[in-house]
Each structure stands twice: as C-alpha cells, then as structure tokens.
Symmetry: C2
DNA sequence: ATTAGATGGTAACATTTGTCACAATCTATG
DNA sequence: CATAGATTGTGACAAATGTTACCATCTAAT
C-alpha cells in the first residue's frame, strides 16, 4: 500500500519467512522520528520492539548525575536486543535510545514476541543473532573501558563513527564526543590536538577529518 | 539414577515442565569439576550449555596481555547467557569461565537449544530471563567502569563477593582482587588500607573481614 | 630449623585524567 | 554590523591510578 509497506517486505524478504512478514505488516506500525528525538529512556516501560528501516539509533547508558556513555548504534535492518528481553516480562528499559539521524522503523508490539519465537524460526534466529551481536558490543565496550586508555578509546570511537557513517569526516563538537565517551571537553580537545600533531586527524569547527594513518 | 538425577528433577521442577525435564535427563550429562578448573576459554568453541546444580562459576573477560576483568558469577540454578547465543551458530566463546568452587552442572548439548526454544515455553522463558539478567550485569559492569572510581568499585566488588558467598569474610589475596578488577596489587593494597583506616574492613593475610559500615 | 616463595606495606615517582580559568575565534541572529 | 553564545585552545593545577623498588612478615616445603 504505501512505500513503507513495500519497504518492509522488500527489505526483509531474505531475513523473515513470508507468513511472518505478513503478520508483521498486519500487526506493526511504521513510525518516523526526526533526528534527535528520544525513542526510549532509562526507566520507561518498553512498549514496542523497534526494527529499523532507515537511519540510525544511538543507544547509551546514563548514570544518576546525567553523565552518559555511548553503547552502540542500531542501523537499518537491525533491532535492539534489550527490548527483546525487556518485553517478555514488561521490564523497564535499562538504556536510552535517541535518533541519531531521521529514522523510520517498524514498531512491533511486544505481545507478539513470545509467540513469534515459537512460531517463526526466522524470528528466533534473528532474535538470537541480535542478542549475540549486542552482547559482543557490550563486551567490546567493557574491554575499552577496562583495558584501554582514553586516547585509544577516542581513536576507536572516531573510527567506529567513520565506519557507521561511511565517511572520514566526523561532524561533531568536542563537547559531544566527550559526552559519548563519558569524559570532559577539555580532555578530548587535548587528545584531539595530540592526534592532529601526530598527523592522524585534521581539526575544524564542529568537524574532524580522519586521515589514513588513523586506520591501523 | 544417582543423586544427581534426583537433584535435577528436584531442583528444576518448579522451573521447567515435566517433558523438558525428562528430555533433559535423557540428553544431558552431569559433570563435576574441581575448584579452579577451566570450563571454557575465550576463542574455544562452545560445546554445551552448562546449567548449574551446585557451586559457582566465575565468568571473566581477558585482554590480549592476559589482563583480566571479572564479569559475573553463575550460581546454582543459573546458566550462562553467552553460551545460548554462541551455540546457535557454533560461535567461539567470548568469555572465560572458571570453577570458583567445586561445581556440579548439567551439560546440555548445544544441538537441542534451537528445538527446545520452540517446544518448551519454560525453556524459552528461562533463556530470555537469563539473557536479560546477564545484560543487566554487563551494564552494571559498564557503569562501574565508566562512572565510578576504583575505590567505589572495590567496595562494590567486596560487597558482591560477600553476597555471593553469604559471608562477610573474603578469602582472597590482594593480588587476586587486583586481577578481578583489572588493577594492580599495590593499588588495591593502598585502597584496602584506606578502607581499614575508615573502619570498613579488617585486613588479614589472604583474608578480609567486612564490617557493617561497608554496607551502605 | 631453614629457606624459598607468597603476601602485604609503603614511599617515591610517573602517567593519565579531570577541573578551573581565561582567552580567542567562529556563527547566528537581530 | 554588533553582539551573544557556542566552540576551541591551553596553561596550571589537582586527583586518581599505575609503576618501581624495597622491605617485612608469613607459610609451606625440605
């Protein structure tokens, strides 16, 4: 019927079986949100499982003082494993998800989760695959925090960002970066300047250009 | 038909449906390991899902230099969520699991995982519940690393340990603690001494006694 | 009993990260 | 164009953590 429904079957025909796609179309809603919009926050009850059609969600953890740490991005064709497990028993969300860009997603009602797991092998596989990859991303975050210094974490952050956006130009202020890696602006400025002196980046206002030598 | 089989049905009769218990008994093996034994290491293929009958497993992450970080404990009636997702597609383990005490567990062959998820609602619930709780433990670890200083992490570690063992006496050397929290012995000694001066612990050789004031 | 190895204490110093202060520059808006 | 606010640079200092070095003491093995 609409472009959105076309997209759904189109995008996921190789992932989900036809019956599941049909049921998904019948029971889900397509939702569009603008860049910067809050999709779910810590403590709020999870009301649906988002399955991304386009755009990127940023998932982060926030402590009681409001200090934040980026956990991972959810991009097209992906979902957020946290919602899977939350929705089984109606638990509140442990993470914050914000639209990193304009986002279109399928909102799957949490009630069907349980049934689909038993009914559709492709759904079960998708869930387990998603859980696995999010586990690995959390473990990677833990590695970074436990074993790496901030300068290495910063490089890693920039490279990840570059891979996520497909560009070597990062449009972020030092303040925003500091927020994502749970540090402070001055420290990030200092480390970025060091990277510039090492010939790994070029610094502009609200923009960082990654040079070849930073990848390796 | 030994005590072990009795335990299985006994311990899990309120968790799993009778048919599942029967199939579990038929297809699983009961395995005993001694304290200190390595159950699975990073990079090794996961060959079974452990379901603990008694004792405690310690699950940790290790970096390329051998530096280690405790992630969480798996105790009686629990399992390790990582194995669930690994076994679906025969992925290697991302974590190390060592017997913290003498351990008895049911080794469930990974092949049944997929089928059981669809066949037994209680298994599905157990899996999702386990995944959820491990997610939360990883998030908690991330919080600690990102937002807390080492002295707070140490207190948290000691209190967790006390809760896990049910005793306010912790039998560990400073070296072992340093290893669990990915720090160094001298730093831990220094911080423990500070805790002792604050009246929160008493220090002995290979032993730390937690005082009331540390809980709060 | 002697001794080697494990454990713990601690001073001194290095490095990493965070904080404060303030200036310079850029950008958007009236 | 004038100005307020956002962004970046940077020195100085503080705090947290890691490292080195060395010693004292305890424990287990011979």
């Amino acid at each position: 019927m609409t472009i959105s429904n076309y997209n759904l079957t189109d995008k996921f025909s190789s992932v989900f079986e036809p019956e599941l796609l049909k049921e998904m179309e019948a029971k889900s809603k397509i939702i569009s949100v603008k860049e910067g919009e809050l999709i779910i926050d810590i403590g709020r009850t999870v009301t649906m499982i988002p399955l991304l059609l386009s755009g990127v969600l940023k998932v982060s953890r926030v402590d009681e003082n409001g200090k934040e740490l980026l956990l991972y991005y959810v991009s097209a064709n992906q979902s957020c494993a946290m919602t899977f497990t939350c929705c089984m028993q109606q638990y509140p969300s442990e993470v914050r998800a914000v639209a990193e860009s304009d986002v279109e997603f399928i909102a799957i009602p949490i009630g069907v989760m349980d049934e689909w797991l038993m009914k559709y092998p492709t759904w079960k596989s998708f869930v387990m695959r998603t859980v696995r990859s999010r586990f690995n991303e959390l473990l990677n975050t833990i590695d970074q925090l436990a074993f790496q210094k901030l300068d290495e974490r910063l490089v890693n952050y920039l490279v990840d960002k570059s891979n996520a956006t497909g560009s070597t130009i990062i449009n972020l202020s030092h303040e925003e970066i500091a927020n994502d890696v749970a540090s402070s602006r001055e420290v990030i400025s200092r480390l970025l300047k060091k990277l510039e002196n090492e010939g790994k980046v070029l610094l502009y206002r609200n923009q960082i250009k990654l040079l070849k030598t930073i990848f390796s």
